[in-house]
Amino acid sequence: MKLFLSLCLFLSACMTPALAASAETDALLQQLTQTKLSKMPAMVQQLEATGDESLLPVFRAWLAGDLHYIRDDNTLVVEVDVNGVDTFQDPYTQATIAGLTSKQVRKIKVNNKLRGLLRGVIARIQLTSRDAGVRESAVRALLADIDDETFATLERIYPTEPNSDVRSTMQTALSIYTAQDQNSSQSARLAAIDVLGDSLENDVRNVLLSLERSDNPVLSSAATQALVSINRQVERYALVDQLFFGLSLGSVLLLASIGLAITFGVMGVINMAHGEMIMLGAYTTYVVQLLMPNYIDYSIWVAIPAAFLVSGLMGVVIERLVICRLHGRPLETLLATFGISLILQQLVRTIFSPLNRQVSTPSWMSGSWEINPVLSLTLNRLYILAFALLVFFALVMILKKSSLGLNVRAVSQNRSMAKAMGVKTEWVDAMTFGLGSGIAGIAGVALSQLTNVGPNLGQAYIIDSFMVVVFGGVGNLLGTLVAAFTLGIANKFLEPTTGAVLAAIFVLVFIILFIQKRPKGLFPQKGRAAE
């Protein structure tokens, strides 16, 4: 009996803390629903202090702004989007709570301060995660503020960490702490600074900057030295970054102007409605995404041929109805196509409203490729750069290798002779104009990922497109390529010193002066075709 009693006592003694902890957590969570935003940071600390790791999903949902509570009984629920319908789940079991609507729940508020705290809490729990990638990002999230406890945890798990990348990040974290730790020996702090000298992390630079300002002359000079070597690397990567920005702007210019290089360059038609062909392509992307809302990731592959067809057909129609009747009258063509551009803009305004339309970015195109902490290339621009080059080479192949290309070149070089040889010049004209317009449509698909899709989209690019084609040399595709990238890079290298407005002006002035000197552009056409 005595034994039984003592066993009971023992058991309850064992059980109670666990039960109490969870009851305490529950009480805190209940309290959370009634807490004001300004008092919440204290709540986060209290919740973390319980050491209850089962709270991880609650923290996560809170961070994402999905944490809600039921108005009637303050039960916490997580909002989940299931096929476009808001449903609510239990945070721990992920079981859907049926019949709960968004009217019955209230959101648990979150602001930047809380987000920072929550990220820290989650990272500290995730330090022991099984996934190396999760551990890595957890350590990186903690770099900015490492308290004594985190340091102790890191020191404990560092020797057993199997992944070398995670180990090196952990070492950086440990060094950040040691370098700032007043209680560590000078030699240990110097060694830590030495380790930090190899890291490009922003937080590391902040630590070194503050050490540089410290009273200790030895530490200060070591920090300065470490900073010098870091800054040299940072500057080198900044140059790479800038070059990438230039190439990216160049690829946008190339895409926008390559269609014009055909209609204006090869056919000699001043097509002011070229920008609107781009706009039509962008709107086609929007419509395609409307038609397949659940397959946004694949919508681009449908949008590219669709945009080519829509803009291409529109181009053929314009050529047949208007441009072919104004052959050899450039001024009238200019005015007529300008009128067409206004009509198309108004058409889009009437159909889609004057407001910009939202085109979603497929998930595989968003985010960036992080090469190191100071150099990351945004994926959408990387894809568009590759895409622009692909389109360019495809077009060159069409003109060089296909029979259409042969006819196009023949007609553009000597129309009457080509006609005498039996080439259907009218058909070739229509096809060429359709091809140029179709390519502009494809450019619209790419641009819809970078800029606003609205009725004025085309106007923003028409000037740039003409600039590129004229600068590169009319009738020369390679010239267009070189000109687009030259202007893009020049613009991006000017921008940091002059600002965006002046950079654009400088580039324009440069082109005007250049055209004075070489009226036919970078790569003038030679021979009889030039006349």
């Binding site: 930047n112 920072g116 990220r119 920005f245 004057p354 970015t361 970078l450 009725p455 991006k492 940091p496």
Partner: protein, 427 residues
């Protein structure tokens, strides 16, 4: 018999024909001067609808002075000089009694000479740079001390920001606001090298290098924030680029003065979560007046998802004040309505009372909100009580001593309190 009916029918229709012009004169005409196309259409179309809704509602209540209201809508197409032409057309040809309109400051500046020459009356419902007070204009949006200055104080005091990026679109509102902010920051002891100022053209879409510059500027070991006066649709690629380059609101918060619920609707707000905006109104503010207004607005636009925003509230306050002033004055005569306007009080939508001051600016509360993933703002800070709008900034050397007071005996838009004189320039 048949002939008689026909004759009387003709007589009747003749009578109605004659009656028509006099009937038209029996309405009070309300001009709506908002861009319905072009780069600003995204923002301004909403305000046109708001005025139409207010007109419809006033007519349900029986109109004003026993007359029905009639809205006259024109489209200045985001084309600044066209604003002046359209304003002239509204006043001289359409004979409107009041104009609600304008968004960008350059459009307001373009209308000013016309409205003063023809002695019209205009309500301008958008936050602006101040440094102006015209007898013919009532400014129901925020002056810098009702938006920019409190926002900077919030960043400094609550978030501990020490380095500042002032980014704006290249025109008068951002340039003046940034001039005021720069002077204010320097007054507070912020060093020259801790302030970065950047301007971009309207509709700028390639933000790569600017965002990367901001990131570089923000990695100097001091907490950095961006104060954004970027206007119109250039905001979308700006925030997208911030997201793409991995700059979160916790690293470098962006506080915007021109991004509201309308601009966020239909936008993927995921990369924007946590960024800030300073306004005098948020749709998320829970008051009965606001709830009623939103319900009415969504019913009017037949769109249950339609959002409301700050310039709409400013239009709402302006319209109600004008209606009250016309009732008090008993006429739509511009001079009498102008005097009746001063001191008008009307409830705002966030639970306080808006007052029209002698300088033609409102007293309003200031709210700072964080963008949430549903495109709404979460109020994280607000002023205690209302802040009176200041026409002339206290932080610019040229306008420190100036006040605007449109009551007797001063009756001046830029009265110098030191020299006790009115410069004579009207705006």
């Amino acid at each position: 018999m048949k002939l008689k009916t026909l004759a009387s029918a003709i007589a009747l229709s003749g009578a109605t024909l004659i009656a028509l012009p006099s009937m038209a004169a029996d309405t009070i005409k309300v001009g709506v001067l908002h861009s319905l196309s072009g780069t600003m259409a995204i923002s301004e179309t909403t305000l046109k609808d708001t005025v139409l809704m207010m007109v419809e509602e006033q007519n349900k209540k029986g109109g004003l002075l026993g007359k029905k209201l009639e809205a006259v809508v024109v489209d200045p197409a985001s084309n600044w000089p066209l604003f002046a032409e359209k304003a002239r057309e509204l006043i001289t040809e359409e004979d409107v009694d009041v104009i609600f309109g304008g968004w960008t400051s350059v459009s307001r500046k373009s209308v000013l000479p016309v409205i003063e020459e023809l002695n019209g009356l205009m309500f301008y419902p958008v936050q602006y740079e101040g440094e102006e007070s015209s007898k013919n204009v009532f400014y129901t949006g925020a002056a810098p001390n009702q938006q920019a200055i409190p926002a900077v104080n919030y960043l400094k005091d609550e978030l501990g920001v020490e380095r500042w990026v002032l980014a704006g679109t290249d025109y008068v509102y951002p340039r003046t606001t940034n001039k005021i902010l720069e002077a204010y920051l320097k007054d507070m002891g912020v060093a020259e090298e801790d302030i970065m100022i950047n301007y971009t053209p309207f509709g700028h879409s390639d933000w790569q290098s600017i965002v990367s510059d901001i990131a570089k500027f923000g990695s100097a070991g001091k907490k950095t924030a961006v104060v954004s006066t970027i206007n119109g649709d250039a905001n979308v690629p700006f925030y997208k680029e911030l997201g793409n380059q991995g700059i979160s609101s916790e690293d470098i918060p962006v506080v915007a003065f021109s991004v509201g619920e309308e601009e966020l609707s239909g936008l993927d707000t995921e990369p924007l979560v946590g960024h800030l905006a300073a306004w005098n109104y948020f749709q998320s503010v829970e008051t009965d007046a606001n709830e009623a207004f939103i319900t009415k607005w969504q019913a009017f636009t037949k769109n249950p998802e339609r959002v409301s925003n700050d310039p709409m509230e400013a239009t709402y306050i302006g319209f109600n004040m004008w209606a009250n002033a016309v009732t008090v004055a008993g006429t739509t005569d511009v001079d009498e309505v102008e005097q009746a306007m001063i001191g008008q009080e009307t409830p705002n939508l966030t639970g306080g009372i808006a007052v029209m001051n002698k300088n033609h600016h409102l007293s309003k509360p200031v709210l700072i909100g964080e963008i949430q993933d549903d495109g709404q703002f979460e109020t994280v800070w607000e002023t205690d009580g209302v802040v009176p709008g200041d026409a002339w900034s206290d932080f610019l050397p040229g306008s420190k001593d100036l006040i605007a007071d449109w009551t007797a005996p001063i009756k001046c838009g830029n009265y110098n309190t030191k020299t006790k004189s009115c410069s004579g320039q009207n705006y």
